[in-house]
């Protein structure tokens, strides 16, 4: 295992060195853009030389961040009718809402720029189910064990495949050519996870619930937060290399973090929280997730539509390209200063409540009077950098290898990246192209700061070459069919769930928020999942409704 990792590391590091070191003698690259979260405007926040505000507005609730958390809070308000529904304004730093669930579009298809699926929600994820019901994707009673979903959004077969030993096998758990003893160990591992999926404590709370706030705090499970996933596997006698590869893949894929660093509680949570799935080993899980060409973008559009329909046409509830650069609290509420990049002016907002639905690491830079304890808790959160690339193909995907046909999620085992999803997978198409492939790479093998530096420093040519080379192992002449290759970088893509992330003190502090400023971002949970962002958005919205005596029914 270690040796293979080492060889792989040498391989890609070597190729990166060659690329940056000398003039590449390689075939020409497809055109494309190097973009990403607006780090320019983001870094501008670290300066303090903004001009004084020229306009002042008053609003009962200000929501900062139009990602899933912010939009979910606004959507929860919109489930109430006036006058129970408070007036609110949502500010977004980027020029489009969506956060990690943003998407792009070209002549061939829509495609994700980040998160690309939502597992079928558990019963306890009531807010997510209510949202899906409102969007018409979930039919019937949203509280039943197995609701009906719209077949167009359920992931079609083939769900996933793995390129291994020169062949594509169905499923991502390595099986092809894996010794029997390892297969037996895999089975034991998945049986253990299935046991935990059904486990409940004395108060009948699930051991691993999603949203995680519903999880049991019994020490037999919370103690798993004290060690890393890898150490837990070692402790339990799981040593099969194929299983280690797979578990590490899952941790990199879901948390952008190597399993040597991920909290075992978080690692197990991935396997044990999703009750929608069958027994993971051997069972078909083709219907286990909801997806669309634009990844989770349809959920963002859906939230946006539901909010717009509920608001008055002249309300203008969303403003994009807005950078909050100062935040203060006083006796009556909050004072928030906002820089508008387009008009080069500043705005002051007096808000009764602030819902902070942006990454928490920004707060200490711009909030005055943030308590030390809170600042310290926030400083313990570290973030994984990610790269997402979209490759546009004008023809079917070349597949010289044998084995399973193209799937929705396609993973190459001997790659440091996470593989790719196919945007047109949910379409009714005979040919595997034209299409758009969305390629994911969490730079989890370096410490976050170094990885972030590498992510931002590497030129377009360097990344494009690495990506094409990686995919060409399985797809031969892919390069000739790629007409466009766009690279999207997230310097701070998601909070990393390291051991201790589930600490009681930490959770209490973040859930309590800071007076009139409530925290709704998935950072409060410590991992970046749609369900968590949605939960905290809805939670703080209901807290505010309750504070004004307007909360009639609860989703949380």
């Amino acid at each position: 295992m270690q040796r293979r990792d080492f060889l792989a590391t040498c391989g890609i590091a070597g190729c990166a060195a060659v690329l940056t070191g000398c003039a590449p003698q390689t075939p020409s690259l497809p055109p494309g853009e190097l973009g990403g979260s607006d780090s320019g405007l983001g870094h501008r926040l670290r300066q303090t030389d903004f001009p004084p505000p020229t306009e002042t507005i008053d609003i009962p609730v200000l929501i900062v961040g139009a990602g899933v958390a912010g939009l979910s809070a606004a959507w929860r308000f919109c489930r109430e009718t006036l006058p129970a529904r408070p007036r609110f304004l949502v500010l977004e730093l980027e020029n489009k809402p969506g956060g990690n669930a943003r998407y792009g579009e070209n002549a061939i298809s829509r495609y994700p720029l980040g998160a690309h699926y939502l597992p079928l929600p558990n019963r306890e994820a009531r807010a997510v189910r209510a949202l899906l019901a409102e969007l018409g994707i979930l039919g019937g009673d949203p509280e039943t064990e197995t609701p009906e979903y719209d077949e167009r959004y359920l992931c079609h077969p083939l769900h996933e495949r793995l390129y291994r030993l020169g062949f594509w096998q169905e499923g991502i758990v390595p099986r092809l050519g894996v010794p029997l003893v390892e297969l037996a160990q895999q089975e034991r591992f998945f049986a253990r996870m299935a046991q935990w999926r059904d486990a409940r404590d004395a108060a009948s709370r699930r051991a691993f619930a999603l949203p995680m706030a519903y999880s049991s705090d019994a020490p037999e499970w919370t103690e798993l937060d004290r060690l890393s996933m890898r150490d837990w596997m070692a402790r339990e006698g799981f040593d099969a290399p194929s299983l280690h590869w797979y578990v590490n893949y899952v941790c990199r894929d879901d948390y952008g973090t190597d399993y040597r660093q991920v909290s075992a509680w978080a690692g197990i949570h991935y396997f044990a929280c999703r009750a929608g799935k069958g027994s993971a080993f051997g069972a078909k899980t083709d219907d286990g997730v909801l997806t669309a060409p634009e990844g989770n973008g349809w959920l963002v559009d859906g939230l946006h539509k539901l909010i717009t329909n509920a608001c008055l046409p002249d309300e203008g509830w969303l403003r994009t390209g807005q950078a909050v650069y100062a935040l203060r609290q006083n006796a009556v509420g909050c004072e928030v200063d906002v820089w508008n990049e387009a008009s080069q002016t500043s705005l002051r907002v007096h808000a009764g409540h602030v819902i902070w639905a942006a990454p928490l690491f920004l707060l200490p830079h711009l909030a005055s009077g943030l308590p030390d304890g809170l600042a310290e808790t926030i400083s313990t959160i570290t973030y994984a950098p990610w790269l997402v690339a979209n490759l546009t193909l004008d023809a079917p995907l070349p597949e010289p290898g044998a084995g399973a046909g193209i799937a929705w999620d396609n993973v190459l085992q001997d790659s440091r990246a996470l593989g790719y999803v196919v945007a047109t997978h949910q379409d009714i198409r005979l040919a595997s192209g034209p299409t758009v492939l969305t390629y994911y790479y969490a730079l989890s093998e370096y410490p976050p700061a170094a990885a972030r530096q590498m992510l931002l420093d590497m030129p377009y040519e360097g990344w494009a070459e690495i990506i094409l080379k990686d995919l060409s192992h399985a797809h031969g002449a892919l390069r000739n069919r790629v007409t466009h290759l766009d690279i999207f970088r997230y310097g701070h893509a998601m909070a990393r769930p390291l051991p201790g992330f589930r600490d009681e003190m930490r959770r209490m502090r973040l859930t309590a928020g800071w007076g009139k400023v409530r925290f709704a971002h998935a950072d409060v949970s410590g991992f970046s999942l749609f369900e968590e962002a949605n939960y905290h958005g809805v939670r703080v919205a209901e807290e505010i409704l309750a504070a004004h005596g307007h909360l009639r029914t609860r989703l949380i």
Binding site: E151, R152, L154, C155, H156, P157, L158, L165, G166, F167, Q169, R175, L176, G177, D286, D287, A395, P396, P400, G401, A402, G403, G405, Q426, D427, I428, R429, L430, A431, S432, H473, G476
Partner: protein, 497 residues
């Protein structure tokens, strides 16, 4: 000397693993079910190596001479094995599995002899402790090298035949090298043999491309008159006397001897009952044979043919022999050819058709299965004019009975009324179709002139299903589970074996 032999160990270890991987890969390529093939081939190979090691105690005399002979034998047998197996498979001579495991056993035994012999040769100069550690270390290193090279370079770029031959040359090269190293006079005869072996293998390398063409021609019983690979499929047209056949990805699409039965049954029971049908849509069917039947109706004003593959429609609108078959239908003024994915075109297109022919390949994979799903039929329904009908070719209700009734159930789940029927097409067997529309399709009362198969009197028989093809309960084929594809595969697997 010692290092030279260790280099040889590295090479022969690589060769040993290469033969094993090639055999396993070839078996899963030709027979499918890669997990079974990989595991049984690798198991048999390892067992044979063990057998070889055990047998090595019986080899005495001039060990160097024996080693060279074994190297040459491994080189030639291992090198040519993939080519031989491929030819055997294509020509269908003898039971392929028996040949496969025989080849695996023979090569495995020979490979198993190599390392024990090398160790005995080296034993004279090296202490046993060092000998074992070095030889085995280098052995595993060679295996590692090939296991990495095989998926990355060899399989995709050289292919199985050439990979086998390449390692054959390496084995023979080791033999030659050993001869030079030991330089015995007594061994001069072997020199010549080694050169001959290398020559043979290189010759094989040169003709590998041709051999694979020949093997392909054996897969088709008749003379290939046209073969091309489009980005979507392999198109092959064969001819024997006056029987012309079309194969797509090796699956028979029609035989000119009886295709009139298939296409008359596809088009007329539906279209002859629609005297006012003006606008017709054909999905798939780039061979133009269904269009030929539709052109028999003078009231038809336009036929839109949507076929994904431009190579197909080009071939069938330009090759004289094939134009004779479809009556030059694709060049008729009423026909518009569109090369696009059927569903994508339907999503973009606005407007209804009086009659739609869905003539897609059988649902043998998930991409094709989607064209037989509730999602697709709902899309199709939106393109039916009032009173319009659709006919769906629906695989064999005899060989794939459940699959056939799944298609019927799926059309019904999409909100259509159905009239399933069947016809005997000798080169396919008993074949199935489903007529569907907003209301129950009626029978025709007359057919156009010149049909060779259908008569009004016999038509009711087509809609009656004998006991062994009668309706079975089924779940509709939804986009997200595609039970049809799995059922279809299971049923045809049983039918073929």
């Amino acid at each position: 000397m010692q290092h030279a032999l260790l280099v040889s160990v590295f090479v022969i270890a690589s060769c040993g693993l290469a033969y094993e991987l090639v055999a396993a890969a070839l078996a899963s390529y030709l027979l499918g079910d890669s997990i079974t093939q990989f595991s049984t081939v690798i198991g048999a190979y390892l067992f044979a190596m063990g057998l070889g090691s055990w047998l090595s105690r019986h080899i005495d005399g001039d060990l160097v001479r024996r080693f060279v002979q074994i190297e040459l034998a491994v080189g030639v047998l291992g090198g040519f094995a993939p080519m031989g197996l491929f030819l055997a498979f294509a020509s269908q001579t003898g039971p392929f599995r028996v040949l496969l495991y025989f080849a695996v056993l023979v090569v495995g035994v020979l490979v198993g002899l190599e390392i024990p012999l090398v160790m005995r040769i080296l034993k004279r100069e090296v202490r046993f402790k060092d000998l074992v550690s070095r030889v085995l270390a280098v052995d595993y290193l060679g295996a590692l090298a090939v296991s990495l090279l095989f998926p990355i370079l060899l399989a995709p770029y050289l292919g199985m035949m050439r990979t086998g031959l390449l390692f054959g040359v390496l084995n023979a090269g080791v033999a030659l090298y050993a001869l030079r190293l030991f330089g015995h006079r007594r061994l001069t005869g072997l020199y010549g043999m080694a050169i001959v072996c290398i020559g043979l293998l290189l010759g094989g390398f040169a003709v590998a491309g041709k051999v694979s063409d020949i093997a392909e021609s054996w897969l088709y019983a008749d003379t290939i008159i046209h073969a091309e690979s489009s980005p979507y499929q392999r198109i092959v047209v064969t001819r024997w006397r006056d029987d012309v056949r079309l194969f797509l990805n090796q699956n028979l699409q029609f035989s000119s001897q009886d295709e009139y039965r298939y296409h008359e049954a596809l088009v007329h029971p539906g279209l002859a009952a629609l005297p006012h049908a003006r606008k017709i849509l054909v999905l798939g069917g780039g061979d133009g044979l269904a269009v030929r039947e539709i052109l028999r109706y003078p009231q038809v004003e336009s036929i839109t043919l949507v076929d994904l593959d431009p190579a197909m429609t080009r071939l069938f609108s330009s090759a004289p022999l094939l134009k004779r078959l479809n009556g030059d239908a694709l060049n008729d003024a009423r026909v518009t050819i569109i090369n696009d994915d059927a569903a994508r075109w339907l999503e973009k297109h606005v407007g209804g058709f009086d009659f739609v022919v869905a003539d897609f390949p059988d649902p043998s994979n998930f991409a094709l299965g989607k064209l037989y799903s509730t999602g697709f039929y709902r899309l199709l329904k939106r393109h039916l004019a009032p009173g319009g009908r659709v006919v769906v070719q629906s695989t064999s209700p005899y060989y794939a009975r459940r699959a056939f009734w799944i298609i019927v159930t799926t059309l019904e789940a999409a909100g259509l009324k159905t009239a399933p029927y069947h016809a005997l097409v000798p080169s396919f067997g008993e074949w199935g179709y489903v007529l569907a529309g907003e209301d129950v399709p009626e029978m025709p009362i007359s057919y156009p002139e010149g049909l060779r198969f259908l008569t009004i009197e016999n038509t009711p028989d087509l809609f009656r299903f004998p006991a062994d093809m009668s309706r079975v309960p089924a779940e509709p084929n939804r986009l997200n589970d595609q039970g049809l594809v799995r059922t279809f595969e299971e049923e045809w697997k049983k039918a073929v074996h």
